[in-house]
Structures are given as C-alpha cells and as structure tokens.
Symmetry: C2
Subunit: 222 residues, 2 copies
C-alpha cells in the first residue's frame, strides 16, 4: 500500500481527509502540530481519532505561536464571533499552511511517501489565502523542486480533496465513509474538554454544514 501523509488537526475537515485517503487505498500517516494554538483540545481529539482508526500519528512541536500575529495563538488577541465579513479574520495564522506542508514534505521524504493530504476548502472557509487551490498547486511545485525524489520523478502530489466541497458535502462524504464526527473538534475556542462555543467562524460553518445536510449535529457545545 502506498503511504500518504495527512495533515491532521483532529477537526471535521482533516478527519474526513483521513477517511478519504484510506478509501483511496493509501496507508495514512497522520501528522499533527502543537503550535501554540489556544484550542489545543483539538490535539487530544486527534490522538483519540488516530488511535481509534489505528493510524500511525506523529505530533511535532512548532514555534508558530512565538511569531504571534494571530488570535488563535496570541493571548492578547481575542477570537471573535462569526460576523460574515469578507475580510481575512484575525484567526488567520501567518504562513501556517506553508509551514505545516513543509513539515509534511519532510516527513513524506523520510517515509518514502510522495502523497500529502490537506483538508482545505475554498467554499465554506474563513477566507485564509493559504486554503485556495492556487496556493496548493504552487506548493506542489515547490515539493517537486525541493526534494531528491521530486527532482528525479516529479511525483509529489498535494491532495486537497475537499477543495471544491461545501461543508455539507464534506459531511455527507464523511458519513458515507464512516467518520464519527462526535469525536472531532473544530471550535477555535474549544475548552479543555473539547466543548465548542458555537459562535466562532469554525463553529458557525460546521453547524451550518450539519443543518444543510439535515443531520443531527453531534458537536459537544458548552
């Protein structure tokens, strides 16, 4: 079986990605980061899900929070309620997906994997620039120019299977693949028990997804 690295936060999207990679015949290696996120309950969820799915799971400590500049990592900044604005919200973390994909690339190379999955979507998302297809394509090119095997075979593939799916479609796909969304944590303000606020961007998008899919929302709210 072909190995694949899955960027795995423990949230709804990346857990769906994990299930998609498995359904496509890959042998997934989950990769999570402790990067100074305030909502570190997602890491606890990630561990439980990986264990339940019997998937190897690596967690790396990254000093992303030290750089500052994001409400997700900076204690002096507050995560706002969802407000429907078109502007990039303060929860944007500078260079986060570039940093995460870089480490996935390193892990892929030492694992003899050339496939990386990332659960970004450009439909129901927070407007972060590093979630758009053009960014993913550009990083794929970097991967093929940066690495021994990429240079030899131009074989690196960055999979973003949720890219053109709404949250409703993502959830419907995950349900078909057997994902247990009650285990996942998406909330930017999740408490230590993994309970969600229901009001941040991430919660509102997720809640709408279950509602649009006419499914019971299994999220644990505070």
């Amino acid at each position: 079986m072909k190995k694949a690295i899955i960027l795995f936060s423990g949230g709804l999207d990346s857990t769906t990605c994990l299930a998609i990679a498995k359904s496509q015949g890959f042998s997934p290696i989950a990769l999570s980061f402790s990067y100074g996120q305030k909502h570190s309950a997602e890491l606890h969820a990630a561990k439980i899900i990986a264990k339940k799915m019997a998937i190897p799971h690596t967690i790396l400590d990254l000093p992303v929070g030290q750089l500052g500049g994001s409400a997700l990592t900076d204690d002096k900044m507050t995560v706002a309620d969802y407000n429907g604005s078109d502007e990039i919200p303060t929860t944007y973390v500078p260079a986060r997906n570039t940093i995460f994909l870089s480490f996935a690339l390193g892990l892929a190379e030492v694992s003899n994997a050339t496939d990386i999955f990332i659960g970004v979507s450009a439909v129901d998302y927070s407007g972060y620039p590093d979630c758009r297809p053009a960014f993913i394509q550009a990083f794929e090119q970097v991967a093929n120019l940066a690495t021994k095997i990429g240079v030899e075979k131009n074989c690196f593939k960055i999979h973003a299977p949720l890219s053109h799916l709404s949250k409703q479609q993502t959830i419907e796909l995950g349900i078909r693949l057997g994902v247990d969304y009650s285990l996942t944590v998406s909330c930017y303000r999740a408490n230590a028990a993994g309970e969600a606020c229901g009001k941040c961007d991430s919660c509102v998008l997720r809640k709408k997804g279950f509602s649009d899919a006419a499914l019971d929302d299994p999220t644990h709210y505070t």
Copy 2:
C-alpha cells in the same frame, strides 16, 4: 528603511547575505534555527555575529532532527569526508530550506517585511535540490499566494544573491563589504569551540574559496 528577513546560520554564505542585505539598504532581521543539527557551534557563531553587527536576531527551535534522514541530525549517521561525487550527499536534510523559508515567511508577515534573503548557491554547493534557482522561484510564488499581503500586492521577493556566485566570488564580495569570516562557522562537524574539520564538503568548498581568492583562510581548524 525596508525590513528584510535573513536566513542566518552563522556560516560563510548567510553572513555574506546579511552584509549584502545591509549594503542594499535593508534593515535586516536575522533568523536562525536550532533544528537538531550536530554542528550547533554555528548557532553560537550566529549569535556573536548578529550582536557584533547590531542586528535583531531570532532563534527558533524546530523538530527537523526528529524527522531523521540526514547525517547532519541523526546520531546513527556519519558525516562523510568530501569525495567529489555528483550524488546528493547524506548531509542533505529533507525539506530543510522549504521549512526554513516557511518560518521566514511567517516572521516576515508579522514584521511587515516582504523581502527574504537566503544564502544558497548553485555553483560551489553540495548538490542539494533546495539550493537551485528553480526552487527559490517556486517558493516565491508560494509566498505570494499564501499570505495576506502577497495576495493583495504580489510583493514578496526571495533574494538569493549568491545563487550564481562561486565560493571565491562570494568571499571576495563579503570582504569588500567588511565581513569578518573568522567569526563564521561552516563545518558540518564543527566542535563545541567552533573549530572546523577541514575535510567535510562544507570545509573543502570553503577552503577552496579562500585559496582561489588568494586570501589567507581565517577558519579555525582542529
């Protein structure tokens, strides 16, 4: 003055880059990484040089060594003597420059900088794929697609001013700019005092540079 992030190892190339950025009118911010490199004496050199040049200096801890796969970080692998081979040597660190540039991008974004300097050369180098101009260009594209300001203004520039210079030319340029190469550490097997082995790839290229430039080599050898 326009700020620029300089990837700064404390070696010959990145110290020259620092001097070039200054000479071009940038206000440099030096960025170094403690990434599990065995030759951590370079970090000590980096601190001394940054202090002497009165340049702000950030050092971040990265779990690159945890990924393994390189003689520079893995205790079970040995750094070989220079052998003139065309193959990518075992000192290659998977995805290293991609990871380093990603963090430089994050620091640039929070510092309101859009210029990043990296001291790679595709002339006298160890054959690492992530030192070639095509890689640098691809990463520049990623930078402009991944970030708030990149998307708005397409303004990120990855400077690789040594790209087409031989080691001799780099040294001659650095000398003109006042670089004190006796402070720099390039050796892959440098001891705790920063003394060089004289035999690894990095030492042999550096030594040849001084010799070709008909300059006394100020390196401290064991």
